[in-house]
Amino acid sequence: MLRKDVNDLLTQTDSGTPMGDMFRQYWIPALLASELPEDDCAPVRVKLLGERLIAFRDSKGRYGLMDEFCAHRGVSLWFGRNEEGGLRCPYHGWKYDYTGQCIEVPSEPDESGFCEKVKLQAYPLIKIGDILWTHMGDKEDRPPKPTWEFATVPAEQTYTSKRWQECNWLQAMEGGIDSSHVSFLHSGGLKSDPLFKGAKGNQYNHADKKPVFEVTEAEGGLYIGARRNAEEGHFYWRITPWVMPSFTMVPPRGDHPMHGHFWIPIDDENCWAWSFDYHPTRALTEAEVQYMRDGHGVHNEYVPGTFRPLQNKDNDYMMDRDAQKRGDTYSGIKGIAMQDASLQESMGPIVDRTKENLVSTDNGIIMARHRLRKAVTALRDKGVTPPGRDPAHQMVRSVAVVLPADQPYAETCKEDLAARPGQKHTSV
């Protein structure tokens, strides 16, 4: 249960809100780099943290992210002409460079200097890995560039997708740290999904449906350990890191690529679910990449030409009651990603947490909310920099491991839980 005022505090991210200010402390994923594939390509509408923006790549390959609307008459610059070092409004020809600075107002004399007085709100856009990242906060307080391992390994070792999720970011993100749902909702996928199946660890998952949880605070967020019985005198641990505000990783399975998510608010009732797979020591195989493109693992299929999932609320997520009865899927919904999204969207655009009935196994979620609330209020009231900005906080990995029963995971797996470039991940 969460009081309404706290729920509002954590779920509202528009400009000027405390949680919005917190998200504006970080570099966040804005677009896939493939959305702006070449110089002078078509601009792309982007809505982030309740701000409608336009992204473009100019004639010199510079990325721009700025207010979507022309300062003259409010026309959407999506209709603009991306040419000769700037984006030109097609209505009266006003032109802007990648910093949002107006560089031409054809109706005014060049000598008047009028255009120098016009500048659109703009944010930096930088390419790291497959992703274009932006920082929408104070430029005098720009954080170090992102160091997430999935975005910094060689290109052939990583794959990223994104999908539109039609609910608030927090309830989507909470799914990423809610380890107790995996034994139910995703139980079918462990047997059939090509990016999960075959791992020895899956046997422990199937054999022990009642994991014991251990939640430990970390500098950047949390570790949520789920413990299941393994061989005599041993436990199988699946350890999920959460880094503030909205990065999670799924514990790996065998030698399959590791995967995880970013949950980024579009507005208070929509978010981007970013999903990545990477392998720290080898290139992804052609088959693995094809599986990801086909929507397996943590990815999904799309309505052609969009980032909207093919299974969505308008088609009841293509519910398959026969598959549910057969046990192919637990909920009747195909695919890990849409199994989560369908249920999270069904809660409503912003779930009313005053009505929920949490139990002890929800303590990962309880602690995450607690950490977010403390960080948000410390930033708002005292200007304290929140956890997760420090590059060291971003150097995390998930872990799947079998340990002797008397060995606690946090101590024993300290090195395994840290990103170690060029070294294999710890997985069973």
Binding site: M1, E214, E217, H370, E411
Partner: protein, 190 residues
């Protein structure tokens, strides 16, 4: 009617998950009052716990294991455990735990593992969920820690606390600060 029939009203399909439709959700109290029993296993844990007992809880009982709590669990019956209420009056474990929905053990020093086992055993026999809260920050502040991260090899007091609770807790939380106690109990409707 065939299986080709599909819902036609907005509220009959997944598209109903809008803010406008949310106002038609049935509004009623969907759960009864919970009986939560919170046990502080040592002095600093009791101090942190008793600091928040005045809040308007919904039926939670707060109990502290007193001196003499370092018992042999094999030789200690439920009602032999020294327990006290916030006002200092004594309490019987069997009466407190009967009918409880959840038991939470709070430890900050790792002392009184025997008492933890007695309480957890009584909870187990009654099929009551038993959770553990290790106050790592309090353990470090008590002088034996180095300021290392929670549950790191260098934070011996934290490991000691965690190891005390681990055998008995179905969910174990290692928190740096005591302010997680009210946050957790509020979330659990204690």
């Amino acid at each position: 009617m065939t299986d080709q029939t599909r819902p036609t009203l907005l509220a009959s399909c997944a598209s109903a998950s809008t803010a406008a439709e949310a106002r038609f959700r049935v509004n009623y109290p969907n759960s009864g009052r919970r009986r939560s029993r919170i046990f502080a296993l040592d002095g600093p844990a009791a101090e942190a716990m008793f600091a928040i007992t005045e809040a308007p809880w919904q039926g939670a009982h707060f109990l502290a294991v007193g001196s003499g709590g370092d018992v042999d669990p094999e030789a200690t019956g439920a009602d032999d455990l020294p327990l006290s209420h916030p006002d200092g009056t004594g309490a019987k474990l069997s009466e407190e735990i009967e009918g409880a929905d959840v038991v939470v053990l709070i430890s900050s020093t790792g002392e009184n593992a025997g008492a933890a086992e007695v309480i957890a055993r009584e909870a187990y026999h009654r099929h009551i969920m038993c959770g553990g809260l290790a106050l790592a920050g309090t353990a470090l502040a008590n002088g034996r820690g180095s300021g290392a991260p929670a549950s790191s090899p260098d934070s011996d007091p934290t490991s000691h606390v965690v190891n005390t609770l681990r055998p008995f807790a179905s969910i174990l939380v290692v928190a740096r600060d005591a302010d997680f106690i009210p946050a957790m109990l509020n979330a659990l409707r204690a």
